[in-house]
C-alpha cells in the first residue's frame, strides 16, 4: 500500500471528489490505509460540520423559547438529525484506526471490549503501562465496564506483561492514539447531544408522531418527505418506501420484505418475526400519517394519541401472533328421527286430498264377487281390468262418481290471463279449436258435457287427448286416464 501522509491524503481526496462522486465515511474506510495514517483528525469530515451545529444547539437551548423562529428551528432540527448516521460511521472508522494502532501493545483488548466508546475510554486510561494504570484507574474503569469485564481485562493484561512479547509504543504513536480516542469520545458525546436535542425539540413540533415512532425516525421521515405537512399528505402505503435503498435488479427475485426504508429499521418492526413484519409496517405507517395530521392540526399537544396508537398497534400485533385455538372436531348430533310437528289444518288436509285415490280408482281395484270382470285394452294391446268400476257394476244412485279434488287445476291469474288473451284476439292460435278450449276452460267443459255425459262426469281435460289424436271413443277416453295413473303406480 502507498504511504499516505497528510498532504497525500488531501490530494487523494480532492482527486476522489473531483470524480464527481459523493463520498462517505465508508468510502474513506475502504480507500485509506489506516496503518500508516498520521493524524486521524484530517480524515474526520464530520467534526468540522459539527462544531457550529453544537454551538447553535447550546445557543438555542439557552435562549427563550418564544424568541426562536419556529420554522427556522424546525428546519435546523431536520437537518441535524441527518448527521447522526454520519457520526456513527465516523466513530466506527476511528475505532478501526485505534484498534489497528493499539493492537501491538494489547492484542486481546479489541476482542474483550467490542463497544467502540468503551474501547476508546479503556485505551485512553491504559496507555503504555497496562498493569500500573489498571490499578490506578480501577474506579474510572468501573464507571463504564462491569466488574467481570475488568477482571478479564486485568488477567489478560498481566499475562501480557509477564510474557513481555509486546512492544512498547513510542510517545508519538501513543499521542496519536490518544488523540484519536479523544476525537471518538467527542464525536460520541456530540451525537448524544444532537439526539437529545432533536428528541426534546421534536416532541414540541410533532408530539404525537414522536411518541409513536420516536424522535429519530420521525425526524428522518420528515426530512425525507420535506416536513410535517408533506408527511401528513403522504399516502400511508408510501411510508414504508421512504428511504428505501434496496436495489433489486429486473429479473432477479427477492427475499423478504421489498420495501426496507427508514421505517423498516424501527425497533418495533425489527423485533417482530418476519411473518408479521409486513402487517406491522402497514399498521405503523397508517398511524404515522394519522399522527402527522394530528400534529399538523396542533391538537393533542401532549402526544397522548401517539401513545394510544402505539399501544393499539402493540396489542394488535400481540393478538396476531397468538397461535390459533386448537378446537377439536365437533361431533355430529345423535341422529334421532323426531315426530313431525305438522299435524293438520284445513289447508293441509285440502292439499293432501289432491293426492288421494279417487273413488273410481278405488272401485277399479275392487272385484265384484261372482261376476265377470270387464276388461279393456290399451293402445299397446295390454289388458286392463276394470274391477267394480266397469260399466255394468254400478248404475243409478250407486254409480261411482269421480272426485273433484284431484282434478287438474289452473290458478286464477292464469285463467284470467288466458281469458284476456282470447278476448283481445292476441290469443295463441285462434283457428285451432283446442287452443280456444284451453284458453277458456268453461267453454271446454261445456263442449265436453255435450259430447258425452259419462266423460264429463269426472274428466274434463279432454283436449289433451284430442291433441294426441287418439282414435278412441268417448268411453275408452274415460278410462285411459285411469290407466296411466295405474301405470304410474306400478
Amino acid at each position: 500500500m502507498k504511504d499516505i501522509n497528510g498532504d497525500d491524503l488531501s490530494a487523494n481526496l480532492k482527486n476522489f471528489i473531483s470524480q464527481g462522486k459523493e463520498f462517505t465515511t465508508l468510502d474513506l474506510i475502504s480507500r485509506v490505509d489506516l496503518t500508516t495514517l498520521k493524524d486521524i483528525h484530517k480524515l474526520s469530515k464530520v467534526s468540522k460540520i459539527i462544531k457550529p451545529v453544537l454551538e447553535k444547539i447550546s445557543y438555542l437551548q439557552e435562549t427563550e423559547e418564544t424568541s426562536i423562529d419556529d420554522q427556522l428551528e424546525y428546519d435546523f432540527l431536520i437537518k441535524i438529525n441527518d448527521y447522526s448516521p454520519e457520526i456513527q460511521a465516523e466513530i466506527s472508522l476511528i475505532h478501526n484506526f485505534i484498534k489497528i494502532r493499539y493492537t501491538p501493545r494489547f492484542p486481546e483488548l479489541s476482542s474483550l471490549i467490542t463497544n467502540p466508546v468503551d474501547y476508546a475510554k479503556t485505551v485512553k486510561l491504559l496507555g503504555n503501562n497496562l498493569d500500573i494504570n489498571l490499578k490506578k484507574h480501577e474506579d474510572q474503569l468501573k464507571s463504564f465496564l462491569t466488574s467481570e469485564k475488568i477482571l478479564v481485562v486485568t488477567m489478560s493484561a498481566s499475562l501480557q506483561e509477564q510474557q513481555n512479547l509486546h512492544l512498547s509504543l513510542s510517545e508519538e504513536e501513543l499521542e496519536t492514539i490518544i488523540n484519536a480516542c479523544d476525537l471518538l469520545l467527542w464525536l460520541d458525546a456530540s451525537k448524544t447531544k444532537i439526539t437529545n436535542y432533536v428528541s426534546s425539540r421534536l416532541s414540541k413540533f410533532a408530539p404525537n408522531l414522536t411518541s409513536l415512532v420516536g424522535a429519530h425516525i420521525s425526524a428522518q421521515l420528515m426530512s425525507a418527505v420535506g416536513g410535517l405537512a408533506n408527511l401528513s399528505s403522504t399516502p400511508s402505503c408510501n411510508i414504508p418506501a421512504i428511504g428505501n435503498k434496496r436495489q433489486v435488479g429486473i429479473g432477479f427475485g427477492q427475499v423478504g420484505i421489498r420495501l426496507q426504508g427508514i421505517l423498516y429499521y424501527h425497533e418495533l418492526i425489527q423485533q417482530i418475526p418476519d411473518d408479521y413484519r409486513k402487517q406491522a409496517l402497514r399498521m405503523l405507517s397508517g398511524k404515522i400519517v394519522l399522527a402527522a395530521r394530528i400534529d399538523l392540526s396542533k391538537s393533542h399537544r401532549d402526544g397522548n394519541l401517539g401513545v394510544q396508537y402505539k399501544d393499539e398497534i402493540l396489542t394488535k400485533l400481540e393478538k396476531l401472533q397468538i397461535p390459533p385455538e386448537n378446537n377439536g372436531v365437533k361431533p355430529l348430533p345423535i341422529p334421532i328421527d323426531k315426530k313431525s310437528k305438522k299435524r293438520s289444518g284445513k289447508r293441509f288436509t285440502k292439499f293432501k286430498k289432491q293426492f288421494e285415490m279417487s273413488d273410481l280408482q278405488k272401485a277399479q281395484n275392487r272385484m265384484a264377487f261372482g261376476a265377470k270382470e270387464e276388461v279393456i285394452y290399451d293402445a299397446f294391446g295390454q289388458e286392463i281390468g276394470m274391477g267394480m268400476a266397469g260399466k255394468s257394476s254400478g248404475t243409478g244412485v250407486r254409480a261411482v262418481t269421480a272426485s273433484t279434488a284431484n282434478k287438474a287445476k289452473m290458478s286464477k291469474s292464469m285463467a284470467n290471463r288466458l281469458a284476456n288473451n282470447s278476448h283481445n284476439g292476441t290469443g295463441l292460435i285462434e283457428n285451432n279449436d283446442d287452443t280456444l278450449f284451453f284458453a277458456n276452460p268453461d267453454a271446454k267443459q261445456l263442449e265436453a258435457s255435450n259430447n258425452n255425459e259419462n266423460s264429463s262426469r269426472w274428466f274434463t281435460d279432454k283436449h289433451r287427448l284430442e291433441n294426441l289424436k287418439r282414435a278412441h271413443d268417448s268411453e275408452s277416453d274415460t278410462y285411459s286416464n285411469s290407466n296411466s295413473l295405474k301405470r304410474l303406480k306400478r
Partner: protein
C-alpha cells in the same frame, strides 16, 4: 396410522364386554389384521370419523388372529370385516352385496360411512334388526378380487 389410535380388543372377553357395556351407542367392530392393506385403508377412514360419530357410535378393532373366537360364528373369512352391534344385538344392513351381516368392502368416502352408521343407528333405535344402506354397493362386490371401479 388409524389402527394405532383406535382401541383394540385383545380377547373374546373384551369383545363381549365392549358389546355388552354399551347401552346407548352403536358398537362398531372391525375384524381383521392391522397390517392388511384393506384394514389399513379402512382403519384410516374409521379413525377419521371416530371423533365425529362419538355421540352415537363407538369404534373398536379386533385382530382375528389374536382373537379367533368369533371367526367361525361370524364367518370372518374376509381380510376386513366390519360388524355393527346395538344393545347386544347384531345389526344387519342391506348393502346390496348379498351379505347383510357385515360390511366387508373398503369404502372410500367418509360421508358414506357416516351415513351408513347413522342409518343403522336410526334403525336400531326403532328396534329394527335389518336396515337398508343409503347407497347400493352391489357394483363393488362385482369386482371383488380385481380392482374396484
Amino acid at each position: 396410522m388409524g389402527s394405532v389410535f383406535l382401541p383394540h380388543l385383545k380377547s373374546g372377553w373384551h369383545v363381549d364386554q365392549a358389546i355388552l357395556s354399551e347401552d346407548e351407542r352403536l358398537v362398531i367392530i372391525r375384524f381383521g389384521v392391522d397390517w392388511d392393506k384393506e384394514c389399513m385403508l379402512m382403519d384410516e377412514l374409521l379413525y377419521s370419523i371416530a371423533e365425529k360419530v362419538k355421540n352415537f357410535a363407538v369404534i373398536y378393532l379386533c385382530d382375528i388372529n389374536q382373537v379367533p373366537d368369533f371367526n367361525q360364528m361370524y364367518e370372518l373369512y374376509d381380510p376386513m370385516t366390519i360388524m355393527f352391534f346395538f344393545r347386544n344385538k347384531h345389526m344387519m344392513c342391506d348393502f346390496g352385496t348379498g351379505n347383510n351381516n357385515k360390511l366387508n368392502f373398503v369404502l372410500k368416502d367418509k360421508q358414506e360411512l357416516i351415513d351408513i352408521i347413522e342409518t343403522i343407528y336410526r334403525g336400531a333405535r326403532k328396534g329394527k334388526g335389518l336396515v337398508v344402506s343409503p347407497k347400493d354397493y352391489s357394483s363393488i362386490m362385482k369386482n371383488r378380487g380385481g380392482t374396484e371401479i
